[in-house]
């Protein structure tokens, strides 16, 4: 112990206050455990401060402006004036309200909050180094520790984030003055979401992607409407090119990208956003001291109770294996806290829903038809196009469809894919169906409000059963 250390004892120490960590801390507090939550940066983690929430705020705000300006069809003629500064300020307010809420909820549930960077100092101790000079450090002795240090953007060699010319997603979302043009490296969901925001603000966007399609991992018929619509918004796609280097040039920069034969192409632009993926944060922690080591993917391996190889250490969220999604982090946080409290909790979910907040949105849960077949099911697939949905047409968005995948024999719903308006909301019903072991008939026989987009879920289920009303049956 160094001089000046203050030593505290706690039953549960949580490192990182993202949607994994703060949820774990609150649940542990609810269960009567003595909890200490250590955060080095901002309550709410990536999700609330730099990820899900700010991106969604910007997506909605730019969409409002874009829709208003593109509603001539409905007899609306408008050319909305956008004050980007105010828009960003509004977004910041939303973030502030939410992060403030997290802090309050933690306190209300008896969670001790400590600001600083935590690192292991043996397998029952954390040293917390406070920010700034001379603020010293303190030691926390714990019985159980939950590691929730999240993830950070991957840097492409040669493209060090400088916040001025080369930005990561966080920096891009914090801009309060938009350039005329931008290159976005990476056509994954983060790149596509932010490109859409930029395009709707009138930025000239070029997406450079190494692979030959956008949104890899999503089925073609889901990604296609998104790419098409993005092109309509004026986004240029440059597939098969890998960002190679950049240089300042006049007022702006030149981004050089190379194809697989080494042929290069230059893009003149103002700034470049690099969004090629995220990597787990394990280097802030001194994992060695507790005898843990990240696996090949850089993640900390866990079992179905979120427990690591060290009995009293748990890992959750982006730093643990599985999809890097906020809701998955939160679920793991709840389970870890419950397990520590001695409850019979486990990560036994059937499916993690995922959404891409592009225009149109994509949302998926569970198995695709192919995956179902590969697992030995005989898939019954039902599909309903939004072009046949009354509600979709009345919102002016008749693009996309709902697809439901079920087991032909038993009718159990195994998965769903949606592309179209409010896909991210619609997927919830199907996620519930999968968890409950609901059958196509259960969904089909449930009355859905008319006119709503959710009716498409019912119709898709009926389609799989061969008796959809508003579309031709298979």
């Amino acid at each position: 112990m160094v001089v000046g250390d203050v030593s505290t004892g706690t039953e549960v120490a949580v490192v990182g206050a993202g949607p994994g960590g703060y949820v774990a801390a609150i649940r542990a507090g609810q269960l009567g455990l003595d909890v200490t939550l250590v955060e080095k940066d901002a309550y709410g983690g990536t999700c609330l401060n730099y990820g899900c929430i700010p991106s969604k705020a910007m997506i909605t705000a730019t969409d409002v402006a874009h829709s208003a300006g593109n509603a001539e069809e409905m007899g609306v003629y408008a050319d909305p004036e956008v004050d980007v500064g105010e828009m960003v300020a509004w977004k910041d307010e939303v973030v502030e309200q939410l992060t403030g809420g997290v802090e309050q909820l933690c306190k209300a549930n008896g969670v001790n909050l400590i600001e600083g960077r935590a690192e292991f100092a043996g397998n029952d101790k954390l040293r917390v180094v406070h920010g700034g000079d001379g603020q010293g450090s303190e030691t926390i002795t714990y019985e159980h520790c939950i590691v929730a240090t999240g993830s950070k953007p991957i840097e492409v060699p040669g493209f060090e984030f400088d916040g001025e010319h080369v930005l990561n997603s966080r920096q891009a979302l914090a801009m309060d003055d938009y350039p005329e043009s931008m290159v976005v490296v990476g056509a994954g969901y983060i790149g596509m979401e932010i490109s859409t925001v930029l395009a709707k603000l009138g930025v000239d966007v070029t997406v450079v992607e190494m692979l030959d399609e956008a949104l890899v991992g999503y089925e073609d018929d889901l990604a296609r409407p998104v790419t098409q619509h993005a092109e309509e918004l004026g986004i240029d796609f440059e597939f098969g090119l890998a960002a190679d280097s950049w240089a300042e040039s006049g007022d702006g920069i030149v981004v050089t990208a190379a194809d697989e034969d080494g042929e290069t192409t230059d893009f003149e632009t103002d700034k470049v956003l690099v969004a090629v993926g995220r990597q787990p944060v394990t280097d802030t922690l001194n994992l060695d001291a507790v005898g843990l080591e990240p696996n090949e993917d850089g993640r900390i391996e866990t079992d179905d109770q979120a427990r690591t190889d060290v009995e009293n250490v748990f890992a959750i969220g982006d730093v643990a294996p599985g999809p890097m999604l906020a809701h998955k982090a939160s679920k793991e946080g709840e389970v870890a806290a419950e397990v520590i409290a001695g409850e019979p909790a486990a990560l036994d979910y059937q499916a993690v829903p995922a959404a891409v907040f592009t225009d149109p949105e994509i949302a998926t849960v569970g198995l695709t038809a192919d995956a179902a077949e590969a697992q030995g099911f005989e898939p019954a697939v039902g599909k309903f196009p939004f072009s046949a949905s009354g509600r979709a047409l009345t919102t002016g968005e008749g693009e996309g469809f709902v697809r439901v995948v079920a087991d032909e024999d038993s009718g159990f719903i195994l998965g769903a894919q949606i592309v179209g308006p409010e896909a991210s909301e619609l997927i919830a019903e199907l996620a519930l169906a999968i968890e409950l072991g609901a059958t196509l008939e259960d969904v089909a026989a449930t009355i859905h409000t008319h006119p709503t987009l959710a009716e498409a879920v019912k119709e898709a289920s009926e389609h799989a059963l061969g008796h959809a009303i508003h579309t031709l049956n298979r």
Partner: protein
């Protein structure tokens, strides 16, 4: 290559076994014939050996699960061959599916068992392996009731299968895990105005021509009756609807005020229970009591005991009693019998095989000493000792517990004078022995302290009359009072 290993027929006529413990874990290497699990059947515990050299790939049931013979309990990875790729599984599975509708969901259960999160949590709470539970919900979904029933050791699916073939009465005894207050489940139509049920359940009701408002509900949601698919199924089959659903949320159930602990009613305990109930409710019992003064026997046994010890045999009173009983049985063969109601005949046995009730940690067991009439007292003594020991350490085989014609129960070993023993059905008589002790005996106008053995003989009054019971007991007492008479036997 993966080799599936099914629970073998571990004993004649055994339909299921409880996996008492696993002797290996997943990933362990095993050699052929190495015991992998301990399985308890109705009466004995056996070790199940591995049929192959290889490694344990997957253990399919947790210890404590009752598994039907023929179910895959463990998958081995056979040495030298690569593990089977997932798609091989995919190829074989659809075949199994064809077997039956409800089975299809569970035959695929290896990849997924369909159960709502609340049920999955309950299963963890109760220590039930969900994959091993046969679902009775729509399309074989596992319900809360299924998990509770599994925890109580009662497979609802098995019960349901019986429902199909057995008359309603049987359904009730097998399907109801006896926890449900009888009041909720009469066969009368419930005739509610409003019933909550999942859409698929309503569909099922329509399919089966049942008015869902008539189906007795054991569950409530928001104060409204909630009907499950299995309740509809059972109601449709005329069974005592909804009983199979174990006490579910909202179903009023009275617990002991000070709390209670529960333990599974299965394995040996359940077998004993079934047999006792069958005997007691089938055979009208009459118990005859008397006391034999046995001063001479005490002396004889004391004398012979030393000789027996020299031959390494512990000589108790039991062999003398058994010999006395067999001698008396020869004179009253009707007590060495069995009533076969169906065939309308009473079978009088020519063998004198005496069962001895032995209390063990797991419950009562009855090893049988065969042909007592042809064996010496010393032989009988050593056999009794050996069998009792085997029963206690559970190494006894089924054969050693079969073939009895008459049973002796020595409750007096623990204490007490008289009892009303339950006949080891389908035998027709059982002799209970009280504690041997000094008791006052009136003889020739005097009361003296004599060593006595109280006897309690229960008989099946359908076959044996009270007079015969008394006469038989007198005969046994005569041999015990004057053990030298046994020399003539």
């Amino acid at each position: 290559m993966a080799r599936e290993f099914k629970l073998p027929d571990v004993g004649e006529g055994v339909a299921e076994g409880e996996i008492v413990s696993w002797l290996v874990s997943e990933g362990d290497a095993v050699t052929e014939d190495q015991p992998v699990a301990e399985v308890e059947t109705d009466k004995a515990v056996v070790e199940v050996p591995s049929p192959v050299n290889g490694t344990v790939q997957k253990i399919h049931f947790e210890a404590g699960t009752v598994v039907p013979v023929g179910d895959v309990i463990v998958t081995f990875d056979v040495e030298g061959e690569a593990a089977e790729p997932a798609d091989a599984e995919a190829e074989t599975e659809p075949e199994a599916e064809a077997e039956s509708e409800s089975k299809s969901a569970t035959s695929r259960a290896e990849s997924r068992t369909f159960a709502p999160p609340s049920v999955r949590r309950l299963a963890r709470e109760l220590g039930v392996d969900l994959d091993a539970v046969e679902g009775t919900g729509p399309s074989g979904r596992v319900t809360e009731g299924d998990v509770r029933a599994a925890a109580e050791g009662e497979e609802p699916a098995a019960a349901e299968a019986e429902t199909a073939t057995e008359p309603a009465e049987t359904t009730q005894t097998t399907a109801a895990p006896s926890t449900q207050p009888a009041a909720t489940g009469s066969q009368e139509a419930a005739g509610r105005d409003r019933t909550l049920a999942a859409p698929a359940t309503r569909g099922l009701a329509r399919e089966l021509g049942v008015d869902i408002d008539d189906v007795p509900a054991v569950e409530q949601r928001d104060g409204e009756a909630f009907v499950t698919a299995e309740a509809v199924q059972q109601y449709a089959e005329g069974g005592q609807a909804a009983q199979a659903e174990a006490p579910a949320a909202g179903a009023p159930r009275q617990y002991a005020e000070g709390g209670e602990t529960t333990e599974p009613y299965r394995g040996i305990r359940r077998t004993i229970g079934k047999q006792m109930a069958e005997s007691k409710y089938t055979a009208p019992h009459v118990t005859h009591h008397d006391t034999a003064p046995i001063d001479a026997l005490v002396e004889t046994r004391a004398r012979l005991k030393e000789r027996a010890t020299e031959k390494d045999v512990k000589l108790t009173y039991m062999p003398f009693v058994m010999k006395a009983i067999v001698a008396a049985l020869k004179e009253f063969p009707i007590l060495n019998s069995e009533l076969r109601e169906e065939e309308e005949e009473i079978a009088i046995k020519q063998d004198y095989n005496v069962g001895i009730a032995v209390a063990t940690d797991a419950g009562l067991m009855v090893p049988v000493v065969k042909h007592v009439d042809q064996k010496s007292i010393l032989q009988v003594a050593s056999e009794v000792n050996e069998l009792a020991q085997k029963a206690r350490d559970r190494s006894i085989s089924r054969e050693e517990m079969q073939g009895g014609t008459f049973t002796v129960t020595n409750f007096g070993a623990i204490g007490g004078e008289y009892a009303t023993p339950i006949i080891n059905y389908p035998e027709t008589a059982i002799m209970g022995l009280g504690a041997i002790d000094e008791r006052p005996v009136a003889e020739d106008g005097e009361v003296r302290a004599a060593m006595t053995l109280p006897l309690s003989l229960s008989i099946d009054h359908r076959v044996i009359d009270g007079a015969e019971a008394a006469a038989f007991t007198n005969q046994v007492m005569e041999y015990l009072t004057d053990p030298e008479l046994l020399l003539l036997e």
